[in-house]
């Protein structure tokens, strides 16, 4: 079969739906994911995990287990400490209102004295086979002193709650604020109407279909480690493991992230298991492989969301929003994961202005430890929580003052740019009314009342819900995020290597795990250099090949990663022009580069790109004292601002009051992602994002009981959307080109997951006529609400 059926022998223009280069290996079963790899002599790791949410470890007796057949080694936190391996880190410093730094409880890869959540790592058994390791793990005797657990977010700060970290009083990592409290209070003092809302943003398990996996291998000959791992950012993993965890110097540690089967944020973080596999490979002198099973993934992959929020919106007499006040309690879980602290702060409160011109905003966030798995970034990371709050309270406010909610939004839109919000961000460009208008048209919003009445005649409760989301992507510039506490810069790197025959390898610090970079990035190079797309190969995910990079998350790879490639291409073109000028015996200023040819302006003398490439390496026809041989250029690109994708999603649905089931009748998504390289891939990102957002709204929710036992530990208890749960989507686009990067790109990866939850809940609250509908709005929940209403009406 011809998997590369788009004519790959041609130049691919920007904006064309080029079919994916990576598909061939995935549709033939030839993908190479971490668990598909086997190293000679490899051993297998199995982690003994805490069955208790909170307990002191009095002792670990491994003697019987160690004597079992096929056991290579059993290692504990004491061994880790003996080798000088330090704890896992949180890489974003947040300061509390009082100026004190966040209280980051020590996070060892293997617990030594205390376990803090069910699934916490107690010991690792290295076996000749996985079965041998599992069998031995069952024979390890751990003497636990079980402690009371603080598993519930709402009560974890209360006096008398179990104390999780010694250095974090009231289980509070930080108490943070953003915005102008005084100005906001003044706005509320003169408000004609105040809308209040209390929301829970439900806790989610990211669930990429490929579970995490790692193989650590130590080479005693040159004292270096290689770690194959399911990572969205292998260079960040190497940096953290070197500089903070102390595993090995960076030049003695190679991290490879091969094909990775989805991440959605959960594979950004530097976890215990990967760390232990790399470290243990030196201890046992053989490669150590670990693959997470799904039950373990539910226990120990970082979860997402989990906020309790109270919001108040102040309106003037004309329905203009004049102030917004927010108090959020954010669950951190038992430890601060790699980027956990920035999620409910700088990725959340900075987006509370939404698409609206709000003169005064004040937000307080308490970050709270609980005896549950760590919580960190999941698709959208903070921005879905902000959008859910903004779009729910705006909807509620419009209903309370009797305005059509689309009109209420429109009257409050930001309409001139750049726009400085009261919460740090300066929106560079947007066109919110255009997205709204197009979405209203595509959804036939005007005729919704007739459809609602018709549904009512069939006994169905029909609702429509809007969501005018905004997100901030391409977190930048580095100096600005550094001033907010980021421990890293958030630029991206690229290197364009032109081979003598004119084909090209591009090394990128971005990482593709479903986003199709091997196609879109190659599409950019093809278009720019005028060479066929199959002459371009994208190299990513290996710290020995790509010098450094920041990886893929936050919808940054287009806006930042491709901009770095674009910058490197500028340099390639500039150097190639110099070489072409010598060969064509013209002055450099007269050389034009177009359609893959260098031409002397106003003449028919020209050279194809490949001819210049060959000459660059042959180096006979230009003075190498002035121009170095070769054609290879690198670039580091640091954006001047965040980008601000935005749009309008409209969900129309019906609830059956007899069963509580929700059927999504129509979904309209109108997004402004700026310039688009490949609309096919963008559409796929939108679809997938909506699916995850609908999952949050209707189906998904991680639950712990009061003792901190995970109740949703498998696909029997945690429900993700299946094909039958979702509709087909109507996807429209509007475009305001992003002025903050050379390609005009804003980013598209998280939009659907951000936009969808409030669209669904606004539609459900419309359908059922109550504002109080929790996520996930399962059939049982909706049935109770609908039946309660029926009973009340009967009683009246």
């Amino acid at each position: 079969m011809n998997a590369n059926s788009f004519d790959s022998s041609k130049v691919t223009p920007l904006g064309a739906p080029v079919r994916r280069k990576e598909d061939r290996r995935f549709i033939t079963g030839k993908g190479r994911y971490t668990d598909d790899l086997a190293r000679p002599g490899q051993t297998h790791a199995y982690f003994l995990r805490s069955p208790y949410a909170h307990a002191r470890i009095r002792g670990i007796d491994t003697a019987a287990a160690a004597a079992m057949p096929g056991v290579v080694a059993i290692l504990t936190g004491h061994d880790l400490a003996a080798d000088g391996i330090r704890g896992l880190i949180c890489g974003w410093m947040i300061h509390s209102k009082d100026g004190s730094p966040m209280k980051a409880g020590y996070h060892p890869a293997l617990a030594k004295d205390k376990v803090r959540y069910v699934g916490d790592h107690v010991a690792v058994v290295i076996g000749e086979t996985l079965n041998a390791a599992k069998d031995a793990a069952a024979a390890i005797a751990v003497d636990y002193e079980v402690l009371p657990a603080a598993a519930d977010l709402g009560s974890a700060q209360a006096a008398g709650a179990a104390h999780i970290h010694d250095d974090a009083p009231r289980n509070t990592a930080f108490e943070w604020e953003l915005g102008d409290k005084t100005a906001t209070e003044a706005a509320f003092a003169r408000a004609a109407h105040v809308t209040t809302i209390d929301l829970v943003n439900n806790r989610l398990a990211p669930n990429p279909m490929e579970p995490r996996a790692a193989i650590g291998e130590y080479d005693a000959g040159d004292e270096s480690y290689t770690l194959w791992t399911t990572s969205q950012n292998p260079h960040v993993a190497r940096l953290v493991l070197s500089a903070f965890v102390g595993l090995a110097p960076e030049n003695k540690l190679r991290v490879i992230a091969p094909d990775v089967g989805g991440g959605f944020g959960s594979k950004i973080f530097i976890y215990a298991e990967e760390t232990v596999c790399a470290w243990a490979s030196k201890r046992v002198g053989r490669p150590v492989k670990w693959t997470c099973d799904r039950s373990e993934a539910f226990l120990c992959d970082a979860h997402g969301r989990d906020h309790i929020t109270h919001g108040e919106l102040a309106l003037d007499g004309q329905g203009k929003i004049i102030g917004f006040r927010v108090k959020t309690t954010a669950n951190m879980g038992a430890y601060l994961s790699t980027f956990a602290s920035c999620v409910p702060t700088y990725l959340y409160a900075t987006l509370l202005s939404g698409q609206y011109d709000i003169p005064a905003i004040y937000c307080e966030v308490d970050a709270v430890y609980t005896n549950t798995a760590p919580v960190d970034a999941y698709r959208g990371a903070g921005r879905p929580e902000a959008t859910f709050l903004v779009e729910r309270i705006v909807e509620k406010a419009a209903r309370e003052i009797g305005q059509d909610s689309a009109e209420f939004r429109r009257r409050n839109f930001i309409t001139s740019f750049p726009h400085q919000t009261p919460v740090i961000l300066s929106y560079d460009i947007g066109g919110y009314a255009a997205s709204l208008d197009k979405a209203l048209e595509l959804s036939d919003y005007a005729n919704f009342p007739a459809r609602k009445a018709e549904a009512a005649r069939r006994g169905k409760l029909r609702g429509i819900g809007l969501s005018n989301y905004i997100e901030a992507c391409g977190i930048a510039p580095s100096a600005a995020v550094g001033s907010l506490g980021a421990g890293v810069g958030l630029w991206e790197s690229a290197e364009v290597r032109v081979n003598p025959t004119g084909n090209v390898e591009v090394l990128t610090g971005s990482h593709s795990h479903g986003q199709g970079h091997e196609t879109t990035f190659a599409q950019l190079v093809s278009a720019r250099l005028g060479i066929p797309i199959d002459h371009v190969t994208i190299v990513h995910g290996d710290t020995d090949k790509v010098q450094f990079g920041m990886g893929t998350y936050g919808s940054r790879s287009g806006a930042v990663g491709m901009s770095a490639i674009s910058k490197a291409l500028d340099k390639v073109e500039a150097k190639a022009k110099k070489i072409a000028a010598h060969i064509l015996e013209a002055s450099e200023g007269d050389i034009e580069f177009k359609d893959g040819h260098f031409t002397v302006s106003g003449t028919d003398r020209s050279l194809a790109f490949a001819a210049v490439a060959l000459n660059a390496y042959v180096a006979h026809k230009f003075p190498t004292s002035e121009i170095e041989p070769g054609l290879k250029e690198g670039a580091f690109y640091d954006p001047v601002n965040f980008t601000f994708p935005a749009g309008c999603h409209i969900c129309e649905l019906e609830v059956d009051p007899e069963t509580g089931t929700t059927e999504i009748i129509k979904w309209v998504a109108v997004d402004d992602f700026g310039a688009i390289i490949n609309p096919m891939i963008v559409e796929g990102q939108v679809h997938g994002g909506i699916a995850q957002g609908v999952g949050q709204a209707l189906l998904e929710g991680v639950r712990y009981d009061a003792e901190g036992q995970l109740l949703t530990g498998s696909y029997m208890d945690y429900t993700m959307p299946r094909a039958g749960d979702l509709p087909s989507f109507v996807v429209g686009m509007t475009e305001t080109r992003c002025p903050s990067n050379p390609l005009g790109i804003k980013g598209c990866g998280e939009a659907g997951a951000i936009a969808a939850p409030p669209a669904v809940i606004n539609a459900l609250t419309d359908a059922l006529g109550t504002e109080d509908i929790p996520m996930p709005a399962t059939p049982a929940t909706l049935w109770k609400i609908a039946q309660g209403q029926i009973a009340r009406r009967a009683a009246e």
């Binding site: 079969m1 998997a3 033939t28 994911y33 094909d259 089967g261 989805g262 997938g688």
Partner: protein, 163 residues
């Protein structure tokens, strides 16, 4: 109890004889012993569908079948279906319609779609969504997968001269 036992079966048209531990799943046998890593394991409990293979002409979750239960069986994995051209149209349709992203669930989805289309005819979109009820895809939102399967069904029906 854990001593290896002999196992003989046919995998992708090749007769295979090995000794396996009784608790080895068919999925692990295919992945580890035969190095057919196109079959993926995503949940170990028959819920995600990444491990679907054809066993005697029927799609089964290879994570729920012990290797020893496949004694004498005829197994086809995504690699075998691919090599004999049985899913060429589906693969082409998946590629054209962008019906995959990270690719991890894709082999299982292809096996299931192959089994569905073996029944002949053109299933409705609802039928297709129903048939996919055993496959989790976290990336695509399913619409493109449904489109690709529908397109393939129509193509095959057209090729057979049916409406």
């Amino acid at each position: 109890m854990s001593a290896p036992v002999p196992l003989a079966l046919t995998v992708n048209g090749v007769e295979v004889a090995r000794a396996v531990a009784p608790r080895t799943t068919l999925a692990d046998f295919l992945r580890l012993d035969l190095e057919l890593t196109g079959t993926h394991t995503g949940c170990e409990m028959g819920a995600c569908g990444a491990c679907l293979v054809m066993m005697d002409g029927v799609p089964v979750h290879s994570c729920l079948v012990l290797a020893v239960q496949a004694e004498g069986a005829v197994i086809e994995t995504v690699e075998g279906l691919s090599e004999r051209g049985a899913i060429a149209e589906l693969q082409q349709a998946f590629h054209q319609r962008n019906a995959l992203q990270c690719g991890f669930c894709t082999p299982g989805v292809l096996v299931n779609a192959h089994a569905l289309l073996e029944h002949g005819g053109v299933p409705t979109r609802e039928d297709i969504r129903d048939a996919l009820s055993g496959n989790y895809c976290r990336c695509t939102g399913y619409e493109a997968i449904v489109d690709a399967i529908e397109t393939t069904a129509r193509l095959r029906a057209g090729a057979e001269g049916q409406p």
